[in-house]
């Protein structure tokens, strides 16, 4: 019996294939044509950019005060004719042409907002408002599709208009993680790290490494002005937020962090405690040395490693003896960590490491020479008697 003749299903399979092939052919033709059109549109948009760029730049650089209510020349009124011309360029023509013109205008404005600051930036924001880009972005923030909301955040980040701050703060609690990250990045872009960090830390529940990278950049740029926000966020109910704040306080090396962290230390566990140890070591307050030393002997390997590493960062010569003991005993990774910490204690630490490099125990010797070699690569002045035999195995 024939499968094909005996079964409608298989006949559908064949007919379906034919239909699908025809549709695919049509789609292929459409996409090939679309590709040609896109190349034309790219060329068109590039041309329009060249036309719009001097117009828009001219508008922004025209003399006159930003605020039209003042006694000085009303800049906004002054540039109204040019703005009308630009506005007409964006609304004229077919829908496709309008879309391309708006894209060209947006590219020009985005470039200007990234290059300008101060009064010129303010005027650029006004132009964005007048041409409808700000409203379009605000509308996108309310879209039910998450990618549209992220698009809105990015547009607002480009415009750098402070009027967007409140809706962006609301989006920090959006149900979609990407939207939350974009909103945080947009806030930082618009108002700067010092002003944005507080609202961000008070609303986010987790800090992915990607968000951490963005926020840490903002923290570094803002410096000590964000310390109050970081200290306040130490009381956050969310451990990732607390851990992030502890790490940032260490990067800023702010002494206020010592007062905040020491009393909290006993209530911290795991990675938060390890971060606190590292932060205390970075700050270098003498009150923290005992705590760091104790951490280097902790049962928890994470805290123990933070303690060993911290002894190196802290920089006290008192750490030389304990670190020397750690180099001689324990797991290989921790011994290497201890040797690196020892090497970071300046000339005295390096001298001790040289000594350990002549130890009777081969594994200890090899570890010390390994770290001395690493230090040499990093440019440290650690001239040593290399044995010439490389690839020592532990």
């Amino acid at each position: 019996m024939s499968l094909y003749e005996g079964n409608v299903l298989f006949q559908i399979v064949v007919v379906g294939a034919i239909v699908a092939l025809v549709l695919t052919g049509v789609l292929s033709a459409f996409l090939v044509l679309r590709k040609s059109l896109l190349r034309s549109s790219d060329a068109y948009i590039a041309r329009e950019e060249c036309l719009l760029s001097p117009l828009i730049t001219g508008v922004i650089l025209t003399d006159g005060a930003v605020d039209g209510t003042g006694p000085d020349a009303d800049w906004h009124a002054t540039v109204r004719p040019e703005m009308e011309i630009i506005g007409k360029m964006l609304v004229g023509g077919s829908p496709l042409r309008r879309e391309w013109n708006r894209r060209a205008a947006w590219k020009v404005l985005r470039q200007l907002t990234s290059d300008l600051s101060g009064e010129a930036l303010g005027r650029t924001c006004t132009v964005c408002h007048d041409l409808g880009f700000f409203d379009a972005a605000m509308k996108l923030l309310k879209d039910r599709r998450w990618w549209k909301r992220t698009q809105g955040c990015r547009m607002l980040a480009s415009m750098k208009d402070r009027k967007a701050m409140y809706p962006l703060v609301q989006l920090l609690e959006d149900r979609n993680a990407d939207v939350r990250v974009e909103a945080a990045q947009a806030l930082i872009s618009i108002v700067g790290g010092a002003e944005a960090i507080g609202p961000i830390l008070s609303r986010v529940k987790s800090v992915s490494r990607w968000l951490k990278i963005t926020l840490s950049e903002a923290v570094q740029e803002s410096g000590s002005s964000v310390v109050p926000h970081l200290l306040a966020a130490l009381d956050s109910p969310y451990p990732p937020v607390r851990e992030f704040c502890i790490q940032m306080l260490g990067e800023l090396k702010d002494p206020e962090a010592v007062e905040a962290l020491l009393p909290r230390l006993d209530s911290l566990a795991g990675s938060e405690r390890a971060a606190a140890i590292t932060t205390l070591a970075s700050i270098g307050d003498s009150r923290a040395f005992t705590v760091i030393l104790e951490a280097s002997k902790d049962d928890n390997p994470l805290i123990r490693r933070a303690g060993i590493h911290g002894l190196g960062i802290f920089g006290s010569p008192e750490a030389i003896d304990p670190l020397s003991r750690f180099v001689r005993a324990g797991g290989v990774d921790e011994r290497i960590l201890a040797a690196e910490a020892l090497g970071g204690l300046g000339p005295e630490g390096a001298a001790r490491l040289h000594l350990i490099g002549k130890d009777e125990d081969e594994s200890t010797r090899v570890i010390a020479l390994h770290v001395l070699d690493l230090m040499q690569d990093s440019g440290a002045d650690v001239a040593y008697e290399g044995a010439g035999h490389s690839g020592e195995t532990v």
Binding site: M1, S2, L3, Y4, E5, F10, V13, V14, A17, I18, A20, L21, T24, L27, S28, L31, V32, L33, K35, S36, R39, W147, T150, R154, A177, D178, S208, R209, W210, K212, I213, T214, S216, E217, V332, I336, V366, I367, L369, H370, L372, D373, L374, D377, S378, G379, G386, A387, G388, S390, G391, E392, T393, V394
Partner: protein, 483 residues
């Protein structure tokens, strides 16, 4: 007796048709999932500012491991291109795997290497390491060169892992080229989600692309059919295959040419195995097992955006060796991990992905060949009707055209790496023609791969390479033995 044979033949023929109907249904599901996954990926990552990773001290450091065997002609350019990748915290580990040519000498000379006291801690067993070298020059301080006895690619990778200092490992073929921002893109899943333990990047074919100082400067389609067909195959395999499996967290393979792994996970799984030619797939299978056995959440993802450019075999001889080896590697891995199959404790990997690879990747060439052998003569002998033959070609070939074309169209609506309408048209035509002749040849190669596996063949074979040069190169073939 004749009637019995007739019945068996009919049954077999009909079974093969049913098989291909089910295969196409699965492809349809996979393609649909891939489409959504690609669209979602584009929406998430289109406008991400990756440059923040270039300047951030918090970017997770990466160790790139590039095994090399007898690559004197190209090793310096390859390593230079890796050292110049956009990434703030990078270590490049070149492993000279017992080369008999001047690979090591070329590296020592170019990078002013000196022997180092670096510790070699053999967490993973390897052949003897003869020396570890670092550069005297500050600009190359991120380079480490390991000189060791020949042990094969897996052994070289394991040696690199033993020396690496960073928490993420990037395994790469030394003769491939990464996009400048490839690391920035492939590391992002690890930054977004702590559960991600491995990520595979997209492999694209660089034949006749223009390169300059280790970077692809212009993407062009090759003029010859064989690499063109391979482009279509790669698009199908990566964009509509791996993307779909990745979305279901059931990805069973990350290309050895470009993958990023968490080092602690690779160590916990025992590193790369030496006794297989499919070491890349075998490691992923073990990672899946490890996390399912530990009952810990994890993700293995495929990222379509970061690109590794590689030279595809330009002739049938080289291609046949490659496909033979791939199929042997597939069979080897599936046999080694056969206990995962249909085990609910391994989730979708055990219940869907693994059986798919057994029944639809491994066995498909055999059944397709059987289909041609049964149905064409069968129609002549009256065992089957023309309708049956049409049905077979529809499910075995016509739907293949659809899925190949679909992959090309998906590439066009997403990444658009091929610039001109003419290029797109050529790819679409290739996607159609590929299924009439070329695909049937690859069926034969894959069948011989199964035969060679059971005969005990373990070699990698020799693939003729032209190599990347600063302009399009159409020079003499340089035979580079793969180790």
């Amino acid at each position: 007796m004749f009637i019995a044979i007739q019945s068996i033949a009919q049954l077999a023929g009909h079974a093969i048709i049913f098989y291909f109907v089910s295969l196409n249904l699965l492809y349809l599901v996979l393609t649909s999932v891939s489409l959504f996954a690609v669209v979602r990926y584009m929406r998430r990552n289109e406008l991400v500012d990756y440059r923040v990773l270039v300047r951030s001290a918090h970017a997770t450091p990466i160790s790139i491991i590039a095994p090399a065997h007898n690559e004197e002609a190209s090793i310096v350019a390859s390593i230079l291109s890796l050292l110049r990748l956009d990434y703030s915290a990078l270590e490049v580990i070149a492993v000279n795997d017992g080369s008999s040519d001047g690979t090591l000498a070329a590296l020592i000379k170019e990078f002013s290497l000196r022997e180092s006291q670096r510790l070699y801690y053999p967490r993973l067993p390897t052949k003897e390491v003869r020396g570890i070298y670092v550069s005297r020059r500050k600009e190359w301080r991120h380079l480490v060169v390991i000189d060791k006895e020949n042990g094969g690619k897996s052994d070289a990778l394991n040696a690199g892992i033993n020396v690496s200092q960073h928490p993420l490992l990037c395994a790469i073929d030394a003769d491939s080229i990464l996009d400048q921002d490839a690391l920035l893109r492939i590391v992002k899943p690890f930054l977004d989600d702590d559960r991600v333990v491995a990520a595979g990047g997209n492999i694209r074919i660089a034949n006749e692309c223009t390169s300059d100082r280790g970077r692809i400067t212009r993407v062009r389609l090759p003029r010859h059919w064989i690499p063109l067909f391979q482009i279509v195959e790669y698009l199908r395999a990566f964009l509509t295959g791996r993307m779909g499996w990745s979305a279901m967290n059931s990805l069973l393979i990350i290309s050895g040419a470009f993958g990023l792994f968490r080092k602690d996970v690779v160590l916990a799984c025992g590193g790369y195995r030496h006794d297989t030619v499919g070491e890349d797939m075998e490691l992923i299978a073990r990672i899946h097992r490890y996390f399912h056995d530990c009952k810990e959440p994890y993700r293995i993802v495929f990222i379509p955006d970061p690109v590794c450019w590689t030279e595809a075999p330009g002739n049938l001889r080289g291609l046949s060796r490659q496909r033979n080896r791939w199929h042997r590697g597939l069979l080897d891995t599936l046999l080694k991990h056969r206990s995962m199959m249909f085990r609910p404790s391994y989730g979708l990997v055990g219940m869907v992905a693994f059986p798919y690879f057994v029944f639809y990747e491994l066995l498909a060439p055999l059944l397709e060949a059987l289909g041609y052998l049964l149905l064409i003569p069968g129609v002549i002998l009256g065992l089957f009707t023309i309708g049956d033959l049409i049905l077979f070609f529809t499910v075995a070939v016509a739907y293949g055209v659809l899925f190949s074309t679909g992959a090309v169209l998906l590439e066009e609506v997403s990444f658009r790496r091929y610039e001109t309408p003419g290029d797109l048209l050529r790819l679409i035509i290739c996607a159609v023609i590929e299924n009439f002749g070329y695909r049937q040849i690859t069926v034969w190669w894959r069948i011989t791969g199964v035969w060679d596996y059971f005969r005990g063949v373990t070699s990698w074979g020799v693939i003729d390479r032209v190599g990347f040069t600063s302009t399009q190169h159409r020079g003499a073939d340089v035979t580079t033995p793969e180790h």
